[in-house]
């Protein structure tokens, strides 16, 4: 199994779509807006000075609405799209500078990709789809088949090896897409809105399949989504993209607790905060309460509230990873944090000023 040990470092990445994008990079660097580039030069700014370090072995979610540039960004990591300027470093090499042969080998050995519309090969069976990455690396057919069968089984498609993609439902097709990518045994897994085309139940189902696999595989996964719940559920780290720029990055909890601007806050309005925020962030450090409930510091607020109400108490002690006491929380504080911060106060303040 290829352990993911190399971070991916994206530095000052620009993509300007159009015949003469390179000449406009300086204008964008000097602050010309996307709209101005569009109206004056008929070029479209896809990515604007993106800097992102994707940690090895973790799930990095890139979130944004359609047109934010997230699909463009993920295609720069395996250079399906050529950047206008900038670099993407991996294992000491700049992917942007690679020759065609180097790039092909990088794609074959270091990356695998899962697509929003599955992009399976309709003329190949499930098994043949799954071996594709190994076939083009010219691995012996037998070994390729063995490895493919293992992953087909892992994603729960036993017995469908000889079916054609058209015979499968959407959810099953994307399992094939996942098996095809995993069979490549690459360090980097690129997932471009991989679950967006699936209906909600199957989507959550696939998310847990992915999380289960990742717990054991520890690949570097770049996951693109427009769905905040999906981002919070999957992402070790989340970057939020708007108009080709990263407007905030951090863990899900950091973003929920401290949204960088109103745009992000508006996203977060319907989030199940109790499902994202952990007791660590709201506890009173050092304080010790007289209560039968003791919780690890990574407990989610929902779980903490449930634990306290079950024990009919309104306090809980918190311990760190080693089991040492670090602080305590109250039920009232826990519940208050679960409810979205009320912004009526700010509004009334503004009214008062007006």
């Amino acid at each position: 199994m290829a352990d993911a040990i190399h971070d991916i470092e994206i530095r000052n990445l620009y993509k300007i779509f159009g015949p003469d994008g390179a000449s406009l990079v300086d204008k964008v660097k000097n602050g010309m807006s996307k709209e101005e580039i569009k109206s004056r030069y008929q070029h479209v700014v896809g990515l604007n000075d993106v800097n992102l370090t994707i940690p090895a072995g973790q799930i990095q979610v890139v979130m944004g609405l359609s047109g934010s540039g997230k699909s463009t960004l993920i295609r720069h990591i395996n250079r399906l799209i050529e950047p206008t300027a900038g670099s993407v470093m991996f294992d000491g090499k700049d992917i942007v500078q690679m020759s065609q042969t180097e790039l092909r080998n990088f794609r074959r050995e270091k990356t695998a990709m899962v697509f929003q519309k599955f992009a399976l090969f309709p003329h190949r069976t499930v098994l043949e789809n799954t071996t594709y990455g190994l076939d083009i690396r010219k691995l012996p057919g037998k070994e390729a088949e063995e490895r493919a069968r293992r992953w087909i089984s892992r994603v729960g498609l036993d017995g469908f090896e000889d079916s054609y993609p058209n015979q499968l439902s959407g959810g099953m097709q994307q399992r094939v897409g996942l098996a095809r990518a995993l069979t490549n045994d690459a360090e980097i897994l690129l997932m471009d809105e991989a679950f967006s085309a699936l209906d909600p139940l199957i989507r959550t189902d696939m998310q847990s399949v992915l999380l289960d696999l990742q717990a054991e595989l520890k690949k570097t996964i770049i996951f693109i989504t427009h769905d905040l719940d999906e981002a919070l559920n999957l992402g070790d780290r989340i970057a939020i993209l708007r108009d080709g720029e990263i407007i905030q990055q951090g863990t899900g909890e950091q973003i929920v607790l401290r949204p960088a601007n109103d745009y992000i806050s508006s996203f977060l309005r319907d989030v199940r905060r109790g499902h994202v925020i952990t007791v660590r962030t709201i506890m009173r450090k050092g304080e010790r309460s007289d209560t039968p409930v003791t919780l690890p510091h990574t407990t989610l607020l929902e779980e903490a509230a449930r634990a306290m109400t079950n024990e009919n108490t309104n306090r809980a002690n918190i311990t760190d990873a080693k089991g040492n006491h670090v602080g305590s929380v109250t039920l009232a504080k826990t519940v208050a944090e679960m409810i979205a911060p009320d912004d009526t106060e700010e509004v009334s303040l503004e009214e008062a000023v007006a």
């Binding site: 074959r108 519309k117 992009a119 090969f121 058209n166 499968l168 690129l190």
Partner: protein
């Protein structure tokens, strides 16, 4: 100025121009005709070989081989049975040898058209410039009356099989080129992107993704090419190609109604056999597209 008559070249000039081009071409024919004939000689050898093979082999074996071929392509007993019955009727009405000549001719022409046409189609699919360049040539090949390009062909090669093959191939090759090009261009972009993302080289993409997905369309092109070569047998018979076209031509010249109808129907019969077999084959290639999740 006279607005009724279009201001044209003087008659003398026009005749001069025509004579200059004609004599230039005649000189070219005299100088290179033999070389060209030698280059194309293998076609004649191949055609004569297949023709003799079909005519000299006992008819039972030929019929069995054709039936087996139809079965392999179509996997349909109905089509095989229909083919055998039509071949029996053709034989019974004394058209066996001419039919075999025609089948040999169509086989050779289709083979040449496929061998030349598919690579040209691939080239057109991969390069927009080649596409822009070749498309008007194909338009010309398809619309130029076949008798017009028969003239230079006959001037170079004289009467016989080779000029016949060349004329038929010129007429029948455009569909295979066009449909190969179309088939490859129609491969969905997301599937190609997936192949690219897994690190396929250009050749691997072509072999593993583009050609297999284009194959049903390419088969439709092969089918069209066969039909168009069959349509040309009568025209080709005017320059000495043996086969069912000759009796038809004879019938036209002498107003032999029955002879014309019988041989015409024989052409129709083999056309239907070829068409149904290749279409059934093309359909089988698309099996994977039919089984939709329900």
């Amino acid at each position: 100025m006279d607005l009724i008559d279009f201001p044209s070249m003087s008659r003398g000039d026009l005749r001069g121009l025509r004579m200059a081009i004609d004599s230039g071409f005649r000189d070219f024919t005299r100088a290179y005709g033999e070389t060209l004939e030698n280059i194309f000689h293998p076609i004649q050898v191949l055609l004569v070989f297949i023709e003799n093979l079909l005519i000299d082999t006992p008819w039972v074996i030929v019929m069995a081989a054709l039936a087996a071929l139809v079965w392999l392509l179509s996997r349909s007993w109905k089509i095989v049975l229909g083919s055998v019955i039509s071949l029996c009727l053709i034989g019974y009405f004394g058209m066996w040898d001419d039919t075999m000549s025609t089948i040999a001719m169509v086989a050779v022409c289709t083979l040449i058209a496929v061998v030349l046409g598919i690579p040209i189609g691939i080239l057109m699919a991969r390069s927009d410039r080649a596409n822009a360049l070749i498309t008007p040539i194909l338009d010309m090949m398809q619309t130029m009356p076949s008798f017009v390009y028969l003239i230079p062909v006959v001037m170079i090669f004289g009467l016989g099989k080779v000029p016949g093959v060349i004329a038929v191939v010129i007429y029948a090759i455009p569909p295979i080129i066009r449909l190969t090009n179309l088939g490859i261009r129609q491969v969905p972009a997301d599937v190609l992107e997936a192949a690219e993302a897994f690190g396929s080289s250009g050749g691997q993409k072509l072999r593993d993704v583009q050609l297999p997905l284009a194959l049903p369309t390419i088969m439709a092109g092969v089918n069209q090419t066969i039909m168009m070569s069959l349509a040309m047998v009568v025209v080709a018979s005017m320059i000495g190609v043996k086969g069912l076209g000759q009796p038809v031509l004879q019938a036209i010249n002498n107003q032999y109604f029955t002879l014309g109808v019988m041989n015409g129907l024989a052409i129709v019969a083999i056309a239907i056999i070829f068409d149904r077999s290749t279409q059934a084959y093309g359909k089988r290639l698309q099996k994977h597209l039919e089984a939709v999740h329900g």
